[in-house]
């Protein structure tokens, strides 16, 4: 394969800028440990890329809190058999909080899902998919202050599918 090969149009099965920015930080740290003059530095593949090269798991975001596993399964199985589906839960209430992990049996199915399902609708919301390095226990919980996802803390738009206004914001409103 020629090193310069890239497609004439962007690919939709690459990790998102979010995933890539995580990558950048790590690479930066690593690079500092190395000799800056090492001409072969670029050849070394960061762990992150390695993990995603074989990734069979997808992070799925912007789900409604009310979307069920069955609905997710129905849609995502169109790209291949699903090995595991982990619903994202509110850390405290243990209720769905709008994201999940979908694991396929093959990397190709995960890529296809990026290409064909990411950015389409489920339960009438446009969902987001991103390649993920794999589920680990604990990651199913929201990391926001109140237990859900961080993005639901300060959202100032009303989103009925995701608990109305941001929770922190709603608290402030209540106090007033």
């Amino acid at each position: 394969m020629r090193p310069t090969t890239r497609n004439t149009v962007d690919r939709l099965d690459k990790p998102s800028s979010y995933a890539a920015s995580k990558n950048k930080k790590r690479r930066f740290n690593r690079d500092r440990d190395h000799d800056d003059e090492d001409p072969y530095r670029r050849e070394k593949t960061p762990d992150f890329e390695d993990k995603l090269r074989e990734a069979t798991t997808l992070y799925v975001g912007n789900l409604s809190f009310y979307t069920t596993e069955e609905q997710i399964h129905e849609l995502f199985a169109k790209c291949g058999e699903i090995k595991r589906l982990v619903m994202g839960l509110d850390r405290f209430q243990k209720t769905p909080c709008g994201f999940c992990f979908v694991e396929y049996y093959t990397h190709q199915d995960a890529l296809d899902c990026m290409k064909y399902i990411g950015g389409t609708k489920l339960d009438e919301r446009i969902i987001r998919t991103d390649l993920d390095e794999g589920f680990a226990e604990g990651r199913q919980y929201g990391r926001g202050k109140s237990g859900g996802q961080v993005r639901d803390e300060y959202r100032d738009e009303y989103d009925p599918g995701r608990g109305g206004y941001g929770r922190a914001l709603a608290e402030d409103l209540d106090r007033d």
Partner: protein, 924 residues
């Protein structure tokens, strides 16, 4: 620094000027009325190269202005920047990228966040000073976007690129990336082949050696594609060479076509089932029109001679052809019969030769002697000629990575009263379809780009090939005389559906084609949606004649599509059909589609989208998240024991306690003379599991996991009890069969039930008088189970074709292969017997009910037809598998293994980063 101009600020003076100059040359009413003040922020493409003389933009062809994007009425949401398809949006980052030799892996391209359909692309960009764009970047950008803009004359673009390349060639650095791009654009964006060819034709005028270097590069790609059996690339590159015929000495492309034809004949003679030879002939036939339409003259006769030779192969009906018919049977009501793509093309080419090779749709882009050229004395007709690159056709031919099947032509709109797409006798129907389908299948890695190509398709053909985009269907009858009434959106929709309805399977997962339709609808709803509506009506009207597997694909697409568009459909159109018997294919479609919609959403929501008369089709039960536990009622036999079981499983009681309750059920059952006492106990046990797991898929799976040992033991003890496991799951989830299908699928993975159990249950225990055959979820369950078996079969076959296996390994795999193949055949035999029993009316269940009340002649006929439909589908599946993993097929592949040792695998289209794992079975 240049002049500090802010290039992406729409209020900058030069853009305003440019825009005014555009407006001044437009002669269409709707454009005249444009209010520049409103339109400005929506400049479809902020011009980046301001050195380009504005006058060049003033020569816009009228038809190109018909772009609906130019219409003031377009919705803001419909807007898209026309060149988003390329990564070249920002020449500055591009240049950086190049300098660093970047572009590998997950690059630093921060375009990501602001790609596609964002109006503010150009506005919010941090404004920075601009340096002159390096020629390499400019060349890349211009070649990539050639013909995309309706505001430019493609000839001019081609000339400009040729001029730049010739200059750049002189300077000599890094030509390679441009040459690579040239090759890549041919195989990734086939719409642009004639335009890329025009660039080469112009290049040859001023720099023949530069043109020659392009040939060399393209030829080496052709060679590697031939070697690896990548037939699509071979076809596309030959097309490119065909467009350049005039540059070659002697007969140019023809000798290579002759050689390919000889190979095709050899292959055809060697085997009745050969499809590779057919593919070669198809390639030849698709090359001919581009040669004839090229500036080369005097090859008409040569083409006619070749056509005379190909006729025998092309008109030959392939043995597998009857299996891939879209509307099988011989009813007069069929919308169309089987026509092979290659047979159709052969006839069209012959017609066209008789009409003097008009080939009106192919764009002609090359005028040999551009008048304003500096050396006016240069006599153009004598432009330099080259020897045709040396290409070796490998022997034996590598059949390629994918099994090939005969292609059936499919069209929703062709040959109807109003000609919205070319007639099937018109060569344009094949030429347009071919490029559309290739584009769709090549660009699966960016459905937005695919959709954009579909919408912009009219840019890539001769002017006036189509009517203005989004012209309403009922306006077509007002079109005067000989003007085209071909609707570009009909062509696009037709092409996508031709893939969804490809048998045995299309190139990509079906959901890809769904997503292309969704994106097209999002980009240009006013154009696509009405065409889609007509497509749905056409398909629904002929549903009872359609191959059943395709009917199912239609249903699955329909439900998925609606789920992306608020579930809006004009259900009132089908009111008559809901009074039909559930056995009627149309009614079965409606029931199945509603079930699929509900699976993607929920019952209450779907009911809201339906007119009142449909409501009874969504029973109350569908709204229940947790179906009742039937043993809650003491009316149900073994109710107390089952409730006890439920409590024990729930609290994870030890197995002995559970066994104790099960024993009690067995005792009672034995006292009631039940033959297999495991059946009632299994029913209670599995129903309890379902009830406990009703909360979600994960719940039921973890519960099954816990109870796995006992479930496996049940299976070992009694086959009937294994089928009872399936029966209990389906019974518990009878109102939401999708969940049942899912759970059964997982039970197969645990080997708690076998594929044969599933089929025996579905087409045996559950068959009844054949009503089961009308239920789409039964088909889903059976087809899914068969798919699991055949997938596994293919995996074993692939393993056998790995290189470097030891003798023991080979023997082990062969044994495995033998065993699995036999059980696969047994499965197919069982299905065939069961459904043929219904088709012929010989099945016991059918005979019992025949003539009963509510099961008269009409119902009998409907059910028998279902039997036939099922038989067809599974006979095809069986035949397809035989052609891939049958003894004969495997022997041939194993034999071929040895001869292909030297051929290097070639990087596929996914040569980039994330998709790189794909060279897969190119060699196998």
């Amino acid at each position: 620094m240049m002049d500090g101009v802010v290039y992406y600020d729409p209020s900058a003076a030069h853009i305003t000027n440019l825009f005014k100059s555009k407006l001044s040359i437009q002669d269409h009413d709707h454009v005249k009325h444009l209010n520049p003040g409103v339109v400005e922020p929506h400049v479809p493409k902020a011009p980046r190269n301001f050195k380009t003389p504005i006058s060049r933009r003033a020569t816009v062809r009228a038809s190109r202005l018909d772009d609906p994007l130019a219409s003031p009425s377009r919705r803001a949401g419909d807007y898209y920047p026309p060149s988003y398809a390329t990564a070249e949006k920002d020449p500055d980052t591009m240049a950086d990228d190049d300098r660093r030799g970047g572009g590998r892996g997950f690059n630093n391209n921060n375009n990501r966040k602001r790609r596609f359909r964002e109006d503010d692309d150009f506005d919010r960009r941090p404004q920075r000073r601009r340096y002159e764009e390096p020629t390499s970047a400019k060349l890349r950008r211009q070649l990539l976007t050639i013909a995309e803009s309706p505001m430019k004359q493609p000839q001019d673009e081609a000339q400009e690129i040729a001029r730049l390349f010739a200059e750049y060639y002189e300077e000599g650095d890094d030509k390679a990336s441009f040459l690579d791009l040239m090759v890549q654009i041919l195989t990734e964006q086939p719409f642009k082949i004639p335009f890329a060819a025009a660039v080469v034709l112009y290049t040859n005028e001023s720099k023949p050696e530069a043109a020659a270097e392009i040939f060399t590069q393209v030829a080496s790609k052709l060679q590697s594609s031939l070697d690896s059996g990548n037939w699509r690339d071979v076809k596309l590159i030959l097309r490119f060479f065909g467009c350049l015929q005039v540059l070659f000495e002697g007969d140019g492309v023809f000798p290579l076509l002759d050689e390919l034809f000889d190979r095709a004949v050899d292959l055809q003679v060697a085997s009745q089932e050969d499809t590779v030879g057919l593919e070669l002939v198809k390639i030849i036939l698709f090359t001919i029109p581009y040669i004839i339409a090229s500036p080369a003259v005097g090859f008409g006769q040569r083409a006619v001679e070749l056509l005379a030779k190909t006729e025998a192969v092309a008109s030959n009906e392939h043995a597998l052809a009857p299996l891939v018919e879209i509307y099988p049977g011989d009813s007069d009501d069929r919308p169309f019969g089987y026509q092979s793509i290659i047979g159709m093309l052969q006839k069209q080419l012959q017609n066209e030769s008789e009409k003097g090779w008009e080939l009106a749709c192919i764009p002609r882009l090359f005028a040999p002697k551009p008048k304003e050229e500096e050396n006016g004395d240069d006599a153009a007709p004598t432009s330099a000629k080259h020897a045709f690159p040396n290409i070796t056709v490998p022997s034996p031919i590598n059949p390629g990575p994918k099994p090939l099947f005969p292609d059936a032509y499919f069209s929703l709109y062709a040959d109807q009263d109003v000609e919205t797409v070319p007639k099937t006798t018109d060569i344009a129907s094949s030429l347009l379809r071919d490029v559309l389908v290739d584009t769709i299948n090549i660009l699966d890695f960016n459905r937005n780009a695919t959709a954009k190509f579909l919408i912009d398709m009219d840019c890539y053909w001769a002017p006036d090939t189509f009517i203005k985009r989004a012209t309403p269907f009922d306006k077509l009858k007002d079109v005067a005389g000989d003007k085209s009434t071909w609707k570009p959106e009909d062509m696009a929709v037709d092409a996508v559906f031709s893939q969804i309805f490809t048998l045995p399977t299309p190139e990509h997962k079906l959901v890809y084609y769904h997503s292309v339709i969704t994106e097209s609808c999002k980009i240009a709803p006013a154009a696509i949606a009405p065409s889609l509506g007509r497509a749905i009506r056409f398909l629904f009207r002929h549903l009872d004649l359609m191959d059943m597997e395709l009917g199912y694909r239609f249903m699955d697409w329909f439900a998925h599509h609606l789920s992306n568009f608020e579930f809006r459909w004009k259900w009132t159109e089908w009111l008559e059909d809901i009074d039909r018997s559930d056995l009627h294919p149309k009614k079965a479609f409606i029931i199945g589609a509603l079930d699929k919609e509900i699976r993607l959403s929920f019952a209450k929501r779907i009911r809201e989208t339906l007119p009142q008369p449909y409501h009874h089709l969504i029973p109350e039960g569908k709204e229940k998240d947790t179906p009742d536990f039937k043993y809650s009622s003491d009316q149900t036999p073994y109710a107390p024991e089952a409730r006890e079981l439920l409590a024990l499983i729930r609290k994870k009681a030890p197995e002995e306690q559970i066994q104790e309750v099960i024993n009690r059920i067995h005792d009672q059952a034995a006292a009631h003379d039940v033959g297999d006492v495991l059946i009632p106990s299994t029913d209670a046990y599995v129903t309890a599991i379902c009830f406990i797991g009703s909360k979600s898929l994960s719940h039921v799976l973890s519960c099954i996991e816990r109870c796995k040992e006992r479930l496996l033991d049940i299976g070992k003890a009694s086959d009937a009890a294994r089928r009872q496991v399936i029966a209990s799951v389906v019974d518990y989830w009878k109102d939401q069969p999708g969940i049942a299908v899912n759970i059964v699928d997982k039970l197969l993975n645990y080997s708690i039930v076998s594929p044969m159990n599933v089929v025996q249950w579905a087409l045996g225990d559950h068959l009844g008088a054949g009503e089961a055959l009308t239920q789409s979820w039964v088909y889903e369950m059976v087809a899914g189970t068969v798919g699991k078996v055949t997938n596994r079969m293919r995996q074993i076959a692939d393993a056998r074709l790995e290189r470097g296996l030891s003798a023991e390994q080979i023997e082990l795999i062969d044994q495995h292969l033998l065993k699995e193949r036999e059980s696969m055949r047994e499965l197919f035999r069982f299905i065939d017997d069961a459904v043929m029993g219904i088709a012929t009316g010989a099945a016991d269940g059918f005979i019992e009910r025949d003539g009963e009340k509510g099961f008269g002649e009409e119902e009998g006929k409907l059910i028998k037809a279902w039997g036939e439909r099922w038989a067809r589908v599974f006979r095809r599946k069986a035949a397809v598998e035989e052609s891939i993993v049958g003894e004969a097929a495997m022997e041939a592949k194993v034999a071929a293994l040895g001869t292909q040792m030297d051929v290097e695998p070639e990087a596929g289209p996914d040569g980039n980063g994330a998709g790189a794992a794909l060279d897969e079975d190119i060699i196998t």
